[in-house]
């Protein structure tokens, strides 16, 4: 079991929506990211977008996977933002990147933690992307099933029998799982 680093308070702040600690997080850790991105074909607003998306990913990972930060937030957060920015540049076909690192001491452990978060994000994005390829009926039943409290209510809302709603839900999640498993990205994620 990894030991909790004192910087885990920033993860807590994301979960608790604690504006005071989050402001401190911005003051301490974001100038570096802004500086890096503005040196690499981006501007202040690009950097702020990347910062926010990274924090939201960490928030979801903490909720869904119980993320425990066992390294300093500094290097961990910078690595996530940096990778996200490089991915974005690659997507927009922007090649000119100066690989400048702001942090001189990055441990293997910091990298591993950042990789975990990035992998979590890639999986979530993949599921989201494949979800959109499901048929309209499947999308509807999945969305309804995870919004309403009980399958009885889902059946009622969709005007189908309880048995049918249950069966359909598992079939549709199964279908989505298959779509995800069949992608090249998924195979790559498993091999990493």
């Amino acid at each position: 079991m990894a030991t909790k680093h004192s910087d885990h308070k920033y993860i807590e702040a994301l979960l608790q929506n604690d504006a005071r600690v989050l402001s401190e997080l911005y003051d301490r850790f974001t100038p570096k990211v802004v500086h890096y991105i503005s040196k690499n074909n981006g501007d202040y607003n690009d950097a702020q977008d990347i910062i926010q998306e990274s924090l939201v990913t960490i928030y979801h990972q903490a909720l869904e996977k119980g993320l425990v930060l066992s390294c300093p937030f500094d290097a961990y957060f910078f690595l996530i933002c940096k990778r996200k920015w490089l991915n974005q540049l690659r997507k927009t076909g922007n090649k000119e990147v100066t690989f400048m690192d702001e942090i001189t001491s990055i441990s293997k452990h910091d990298i591993a933690m950042a990789e975990d978060t990035l992998m979590y994000e890639q999986k979530s994005e993949l599921i989201d992307k494949m979800f959109k390829q499901l048929g309209a009926k499947c999308q509807e039943i999945i969305t309804t099933a995870f919004t309403l409290k009980s399958m009885e209510k889902v059946a009622e809302k969709l005007g189908v029998t309880y048995g049918y709603a249950r069966k359909k839900k598992s079939q549709c999640i199964g279908q989505l799982t298959k779509l995800v498993r069949d992608t090249a990205e998924f195979k790559q994620l498993k091999n990493d």
């Binding site: 994301l14 504006a19 040196k39 939201v56 869904e64 400048m100 969305t143 999640i173």
Partner: protein
């Protein structure tokens, strides 16, 4: 996977399997690797969908907070007008004084590159060798003849590329001759190293941004100068004025 498997996965996740059905299911998970893999993937997808859906409103609230912090970061501090109370005359006088102060303050508060661009003289010859190139570089720099200094320091650096002091002054001379991009590459190299000039280079990076009116970038660069650095105080001073 067959449909029945998905139905069993779902029933297991919901905790609806009991007795023999539960034992059978768990035995199969333990003995059939493909079945186990398929179950894990199914449960991961299901968990992800559930988590995103359950926490959608929490995400929205978090984004609201992050947006407001982001906006606070961007907007510079503004003068605050005090509320008037019953002491009308005093209040009027105070307001006038305040307005006047704000006027004076704002007039003098636009920091410029030139105000902050005070360079330590280059003093290489006092320490050791006094060859002609070093002498030329030093004289040119200290006379503020920066284009000559750029050339002279460039020559010196081609012989000794690792000399961080020369790098720094080369960067400053480039900055003065408006070769901002090249200057910032030179400063970057110093910032990424571990020399005593690390934060001086950071400071000059910020000044480069100030010179080109990239105020937000300038602020970010200034914030990277730590308390222990000699440049900390002037960095804070400049930050406050921006």
């Amino acid at each position: 996977m067959k449909e029945e498997s998905y139905i069993a996965f779902e029933a297991y996740i919901q905790g609806e399997l009991e007795g023999e059905a539960l034992v059978d299911f768990e035995n199969r998970l333990a003995s059939d690797a493909d079945f186990n893999r398929a179950y894990l993937d199914y449960s991961e997808v299901s968990q992800s969908l559930k988590s995103r859906s359950t926490h959608a409103s929490g995400e929205k609230e978090l984004r609201d907070t992050l947006n407001s912090i982001r906006n606070q970061q961007k907007s510079p501090k503004k003068g605050v007008l005090l509320k008037m109370n019953s002491y009308k005359w005093m209040a009027v006088a105070a307001s006038l004084l305040l307005l006047f102060t704000v006027y004076i303050f704002s007039d003098s508060s636009k920091p410029t590159y030139t105000e902050y661009a005070m360079h330590e003289p280059l003093e290489m010859t006092v320490r050791g060798t006094t060859d002609t190139h070093t002498k030329a570089a030093e004289t040119a720099f200290n006379k503020q003849d920066y284009s000559t200094a750029v050339a002279a320091l460039g020559t010196l650096l081609s012989k000794d590329p690792g000399n961080v002091e020369w790098q720094l002054y080369y960067g400053i001379a480039l900055l003065e001759t408006d070769k901002i991009a090249t200057a910032s590459t030179v400063f970057d190299a110093i910032i990424n190293g571990d020399s005593v000039y690390k934060y001086t280079a950071q400071w000059y990076t910020a000044l480069g941004y100030l010179k080109t009116d990239k105020i937000e970038w300038c602020k970010s660069a200034l914030k990277l100068i730590p308390k222990e650095a000699a440049e900390y105080e002037k960095a804070q001073d400049l930050l406050e004025r921006l």
